[in-house]
């Protein structure tokens, strides 16, 4: 409880209250003035009578406040390498500290690589999505984002780099590899592989959202990584070192600023770095001042002439003194004959003096003609002296920085020594920290696999639920017993989805058998599967081919339903089977294929899946037979999908003729994604309506 002497708490306002008061300049905890302004702009749009859609369009525009960028990445990366990391003030990139151990460096590098792959994907795909949504080209989208302050990607070239990094990371994730093993073919052009994944799963908003959410969760967990229990001496040394390094950096900034102000010109990066390196490497104040003079005094026009003045003046004065000493005394008797040698010597000295004096006068003439430059020269020469550096302001500053650098080096030694010989507590806690980092990075590395799996699973569940709702609706509207039996079998046969518990039980044997039946027998096989589901009563025959009274064929037996002579059906049964085929064949086949795909790819997410027991799969020939048997359905399904069409077009443009398996996978995958609730259960790119996949019976 605050007592009477404690400072009164600052009043707290919600952002709304602040906005209502019209003040966006105040600082609220965790909210920047720019964010408040963004909120105000969004609210104004509504007040101006704009529609919700227009408002959302504005809200969807990334700005500096909303883009996933360097700041988030740096915050994440700084947490790794047991915290032995720092942001390089020049590049703004996070690096492992020089004194980090190899294990710490390795942990940091691994985290950095994984995080930057996720980031590359998020940044590139966000631009692609915006460009597709608005119809504005990628370069123009980038330009408009940069103008809004989102500088996560600043150029088309950077976009290309991030796109390649992001898509390659997605392609190399374990789940995508198992989903599309054919993409591992080394003869396939990498760009084709990228286009394939980009056009199928890569552009899925659900995937991007899931990756971003997961990354944020992992970032939050990185904040809570266990601390290394450093001993007090090490902690103090690191603290002092940090502050000394800050002081060094501030000193560099101050000197650079002073030079820039004096010369009225910014230093180029190499010049800045040279000063920074000189200070960082422990150069003496005199050495650094010589460097600084090159950037100041020596840049003044006529520096070469001005710099001679002092020396020339000295030499002129000396020559004058010499001549003065050796000249013929004026008091000498006029009739006395002067010693010729003495006269010559005096004349020579005078001549020397005269030459220097003329030179000096010429120089002073230059000075008088260029007085502002000369004044600047004199000023700089005084402020950036090489001799007597300690007496100048900058010399004193450099001396201080020199001492600071000496201390940094001492601290380096203390820290290195302490880190090489940690106490048990510290060693154990550092190991624990690195292990926790490794576990977390495992998750970051799995972010693509996990997210893709999660998205497909969700889509599958939504389709299953939609199927179920459709069946319930049909039941209300009245359906035949055959319709009911077929609907029931589609729900139970392959993957049984329990809406209440949201569990999925899978029967891989039945899926495999039924896939083989339709692959080998085509439409006839499909009809026979429907016959099985309808459980029509076909009398058993004795050895002579006569019906056995009261005995019926067991249509659950694969041998029976695959081989029974359909001519044994009565006319009424034949009609019922034909009706069922016309009504349900496409839906039934697509549900089977969807469950095949789901159980093959979602594996352990499905109840009933036993690791290693999964023998699901068709050979290349079996996929080809499936295509031959259902060529029309495959072609029309793919033709109705813009996305599928694009993937196929890209394939052909890359000179690759997709085989049957790939065509079917595109067909099924896009059906699941397109039909999913990126909002489009029942619609979407291929769409349930187009393919029949997932359409309620």
């Amino acid at each position: 409880m605050p007592d009477a002497t404690s400072a009164p708490e600052a009043p707290k306002f919600t952002p709304k209250e602040v906005l209502q008061a019209g003040d966006t300049s105040v600082n609220l905890p965790g909210i920047t003035p720019e964010q408040l302004q963004r909120q105000k702009d969004l609210e104004q749009l509504r007040k101006d009578g704009k529609s919700g859609k227009e408002g959302l369009q504005m809200a969807s525009e990334t700005t500096r406040e909303t883009s996933f960028g360097r700041l988030q990445l740096n915050a994440f990366e700084l947490k790794f390498g047991a915290g032995e990391t720092e942001e390089n003030p020049a590049t703004h990139l996070v690096e492992a500290k020089a004194n980090a151990t190899p294990a710490e460096k390795a942990s940091f590098e691994r985290a950095k690589r994984a995080a930057e792959q996720a980031s590359a994907f998020l940044q590139y795909s966000s631009i692609l999505a915006e460009s597709e949504r608005t119809g504005i080209s990628i370069p123009d989208t980038i330009r408009s984002r940069v103008a809004r302050g989102d500088t996560s990607i600043k150029s088309a070239a950077e976009y290309d780099r991030q796109r390649i990094a992001g898509l390659d990371a997605l392609l190399s994730s374990g789940y995508i590899k198992s989903l599309f093993p054919e993409l591992a073919d080394p003869s396939m052009h990498p760009e084709y592989k990228r286009k394939y994944i980009e056009k199928t799963l890569g552009r899925e908003i659900g995937l991007r959202t899931t990756i971003a959410t997961k990354f944020r969760e992992l970032s939050a967990r990185a904040e809570a990584l266990p601390e290394v229990a450093k001993d007090d001496e090490l902690k103090n040394a690191e603290k002092e070192q940090k502050s000394a390094k800050t002081k060094a950096q501030e000193g560099v900034d101050q000197i650079v600023k002073s030079i820039e102000t004096d010369t009225g010109q910014p230093l180029d990066p190499a010049e800045k770095k040279a000063i920074e390196d000189a200070i960082g490497n422990g150069a003496t104040p005199e050495q650094i001042l010589r460097q600084i003079r090159q950037l100041t005094v020596e840049k003044v026009p006529h520096y070469a002439e001005f710099s001679k003045i002092s020396e020339l003046k000295n030499r002129t004065d000396e020559a004058f003194a010499r001549w003065n000493q050796g000249k013929i005394p004026t008091t000498m008797n006029k009739n006395a004959i002067p010693n010729q040698a003495a006269v010559d010597a005096a004349n020579k000295l005078y001549s020397q003096y005269e030459t220097l004096s003329n030179e000096y006068d010429a120089l002073m003439n230059t000075v008088n003609q260029n007085r502002p430059d000369y004044d600047k020269f004199v000023d700089f020469d005084r402020r950036y002296p090489t001799a007597g550096a300690a007496n100048s302001e900058i010399g004193a500053k450099l001396a201080e920085l020199y001492q600071n650098q000496v201390r940094i080096r001492e601290l380096d030694t203390i820290i290195a020594d302490k880190r090489a010989n940690p106490n048990t507590n510290e060693r154990d806690s550092r190991n624990a920290r690195l292990q926790a980092e490794s576990d977390l990075v495992d998750e970051v590395e799995n972010i693509f696999s996990e997210s893709a799996q999660e998205v497909l699973l969700k889509r599958y569940e939504q389709l299953a639920e939609l199927d179920e709702k459709g069946r319930e609706k049909d039941a209300k509207e009245g359906i035949t017993a055959d319709d009911k039996a077929i609907a029931e079998s589609m729900r139970e046969n392959w993957i049984k989805f329990d809406r209440e518990t949201r569990t999925k039980s899978v029967s891989t044997v039945r899926i495999q058998e039924d896939m083989l039946t339709i692959a080998y027998k085509g439409e006839d096989g499909l009809k026979r599967l429907l016959l099985r589901e309808m459980q029509l009563q076909i009398p058993k025959l004795d050895a002579s081919g006569n019906p056995i009274p009261g005995a019926f064929e067991d249509l659950y037996e694969r041998e029976t339903y695959e081989n029974i002579d359909l001519n044994r059906l009565t006319e009424e049964q034949k009609k019922r089977l034909d009706d069922a085929y016309n009504k349900h064949a496409d839906t039934y086949r697509n549900k089977l294929m969807k469950d095949f795909f789901a159980s093959k790819t979602l594996k352990d997410k499905l109840k009933g899946w036993v690791p290693g027991s999964d023998k699901l799969g068709l050979s290349k020939d079996e996929w080809r037979m499936l295509e031959e048997n259902f060529r029309g359905q495959l072609a029309s399904g793919l033709a109705k999908s813009k996305e599928a069409g694009n993937v196929l077009k890209n394939l052909e443009a890359s000179g690759i003729k997709p085989d049957s398996k790939m065509k079917w996978l595109i067909y099924i995958l896009i059906a699941i994604i397109g039909a999913g609730a990126v909002a489009t259960v029942g619609a979407g790119a291929v769409g349930v309506a187009a393919t029949g996949i997932g359409k309620a019976t």
Binding site: R38, Q57, R133, T209, G470, A677, A679, V681, A683
Partner: protein
């Protein structure tokens, strides 16, 4: 709700409601600016493609699971759906009773 198609007017109403929910989220600090951008993108990429009331409900459910500020909108539509289903069941029962 069912598989009946969704009109443009219904979609526009939903856009308005979701935008208001987004603004409320920002005003009450229950939605970060980063999430407001992301969710707006999610809505725009999804809602136009919706063609049935069922899919609309799935979309809202997904949206609310990702960003709880949209939960009220989802619940409202879900309630409407339940009421509609109950009314339909009642009608069917009444029809059956009348036919007896």
């Amino acid at each position: 709700m069912d598989n009946t198609s969704v009109s443009e007017e219904q979609k526009n109403n939903l856009y308005n409601e979701l935008y208001d929910a987004l603004l409320t989220g920002l005003q009450t600090s229950t939605l970060s600016h980063e999430d407001s951008q992301f969710s707006a993108e999610f809505i725009l990429e999804s809602l136009d493609k919706i063609d049935s009331e069922d899919s609309m409900l799935f979309f809202l459910q997904d949206l609310a699971n990702r960003w709880p500020v949209y939960k009220d909108t989802y619940l409202k539509y879900k309630d409407n759906d339940t009421q509609k289903q109950e009314a339909s069941t009642l009608d069917a029962t009444r029809e059956k009773l009348n036919s007896i």
